[in-house]
Symmetry: C2
Subunit: 384 residues, 2 copies
């Protein structure tokens, strides 16, 4: 039989057939009326997903490009930037801010910890404020979801602009750009938004736009004001990835048709199902066992199991792609992503394959116990 | 009947069905073995198309991103940059270099002129050299193709790094990165390479890489050294647009199967056919009537014809997308692109639609004369 493949990483994620289908349509010109209609609708849908009234600026870029746009537009050399980190992506904010010459204040937690808003308040008070505070909503490297609402409040109270990495959280768990006072919500196409990688974006408040106009580093394609002005006329300043924009528009339509609240509830139940299955198998969670951690489930490597080998068995024998740990967590954990186009049968497949692969590696696991726990947990999930 | 649409712009260009088809395949992970194989092959094919031994760095970006990578990696404030311009894209090199703080020497021609290597030699001598010289191979705004080989020689003789905009020329007309001593060949996916927009790249010589390591502006996703190091391990530093990379790999395979020399000859004949058809209709060329100008044919607006209206008629009545002039040429010219996935029947379609639209606008044109001239010219095309 032809091999079936299952992509269970927290990005890129599986893309629904309706979205794939539009990628195969002939290319249209980016200044023609049909593309402009799609472009305008896509930008409005991005605002709806970000829950932002202010524009969402769309770039043809890896997700990291939208991160860089925030740092480049908001950092002139010597500007104070405060970064809260507790994993790989938080630390990347810090290295990027340093690269752009920021006066960096780094509130750094061990990987896997959950940031505390009081620590941020103290750090801001000690530093005498900051121009911008950089936060991570879902730390994809650890599975921890931070209380961004409380962290953003602490930053705003100190008069700082609030920038949030929402790459793996947007569309999966609640994020309220305007209501939580977030100036810049950064995200990308290839996570919970069910679109291939290649588009990145950030919502920008009027305060963030004004700060960008007043200074920052040299930048051209990632310049916010140029992008904003082009988007206002539905006239992208540079040829956008027209196929991907059309795909994102379709995917956002699917998400908004489901409804953001329904999607959030589905992700909570997927996260619960995954964690209960993992625990039923006798494995130990690395990510918190809490509803908020609904993006990626991180699991400690069982004693005597080589994570790299386990992942290769899963991939090459069963067609199931999970992912290991990054940086200092390499070899110590592995991760199951469950954002975007996922249902409970995907969780069951991931757990079933994991059970088989661990059994091959010599582990004693009662056959079917993880899948059973996952399905039961999912179907008993009350409204959250 | 369903509307048929014809895209005759010099970017984005039509994409062959084999390339569109792979875009609709399920997403694969960018660190898995199948993507790495595709990625490695695509990078090798890019080198073959650039005719460069040194690496070609691939970015997920609009084409402009690869331009910016050249300026950002090669420009520290005060570094002297010499730009040769004779149209919209040449002038963009100048504005980008200025934005990055270069000490700009601008050899500026009127739009539509052809740069003269002697002028470049004189300007470099007068300026006492430059760190880098920025050239435009095919000036898409005017249809002029410059003698980049001679211009590059003049720049190298003065000890400057040579950077060439080959966005609309690469794969359509001869360009020899190594043999002509070009340090940086900049191009994108959406022109003669028959792939949707969203990928941009530049070949970089060891000299250019060394200069980039030694300085330049602050940059992160467009950093050459980071990209080079990642590519060497087939481990992209940021999640690439996996779908577009797979598409580019297929498209480059088609181009190399045809053979670069065969593709160049086809483009010469397409350009000739287009120009002979245009002239047979009694229209006046703006772009040079020479074989080298095989990328885009620019045509002066006939007296009494409103270009914007003509283009709307072509697009909305006949489904044929041509494009007008940019900047100061807006309203004065219109352009037919013929790069990439084009054959003589595309030229015939463009000319036939143009004939119909001009007849509707009141012009007296002998029915069929342009198409006849184009077909005859193409089929009589001897080996060039």
């Amino acid at each position: 039989v032809p091999e079936k493949r299952y992509l269970f990483t927290p990005g890129p994620t599986p893309v629904p057939p309706e979205v794939l289908a539009i990628l195969a349509e002939p290319i249209i010109h980016h200044r023609g009326p049909d593309f402009r209609r799609t472009y305008g609708r896509c930008l409005e849908r991005l605002k709806a997903v970000c829950r932002a009234e202010q524009p969402v600026l769309l770039f043809t870029s890896s997700g990291t490009g939208a991160f860089e746009s925030a740092v480049a537009n908001l950092t002139a050399p010597g500007d104070r930037a405060l970064v809260v980190s507790a994993g790989y992506f938080g630390e990347r904010w810090a290295s990027m801010a340093s690269a752009f010459g920021a006066d960096l204040v780094h509130v750094r937690y061990a990987w896997g910890e959950t940031p505390d808003p009081d620590d941020l308040r103290t750090a801001l008070a000690d530093a005498g404020g900051a121009k911008a505070v950089y936060l991570t909503h879902s730390e994809t490297s650890t599975g921890v979801v931070a209380d961004v609402q409380a962290l953003a409040a602490a930053a705003r109270d100190a008069g700082a602009l609030v920038v949030v990495d929402a790459v793996s959280s947007l569309g999966a768990i609640p994020l309220e750009t305007d209501a939580w006072g977030i100036d810049v919500t950064v995200s990308g196409s290839q996570k919970a938004l069910m679109t291939p990688p290649g588009l990145a974006f950030c919502s920008v408040s009027s305060g963030a736009l004004a700060a960008a106009r007043a200074g920052g580093a040299t930048r051209y394609v990632l310049d916010w004001e140029r992008t904003r002005a082009g988007q206002e006329l539905l006239d992208a300043p540079f040829t956008p990835a027209v196929s991907l924009v059309r795909a994102l528009d379709v995917a956002l339509g699917l998400l908004l048709d489901e409804g953001l609240e329904a999607a959030f509830e589905r992700h909570v139940r997927l996260g619960r199902a995954c964690r209960e299955g993992v625990k039923a198998m006798g494995l130990e969670l690395f990510s918190p066992d809490e509803d908020r951690s609904a993006v990626v489930t991180a699991i400690r490597a069982p004693d005597g199991v080589d994570v790299a080998e386990l992942l290769l068995t899963l991939r090459d024998r069963f067609g199931v792609q999970l992912i290991g740990g990054q940086g200092e967590l390499k070899g110590k954990i592995f991760r199951i992503g469950h954002i975007g186009w996922f249902d409970v049968f995907d969780i069951a497949t991931a757990l079933a394959a994991l059970e088989l692969a661990l059994a091959e590696a010599g582990a004693e696991i009662e056959r079917g116990i993880a899948v059973t726990a996952a399905l039961e947990t999912y179907s008993s999930g009350a409204r959250v």
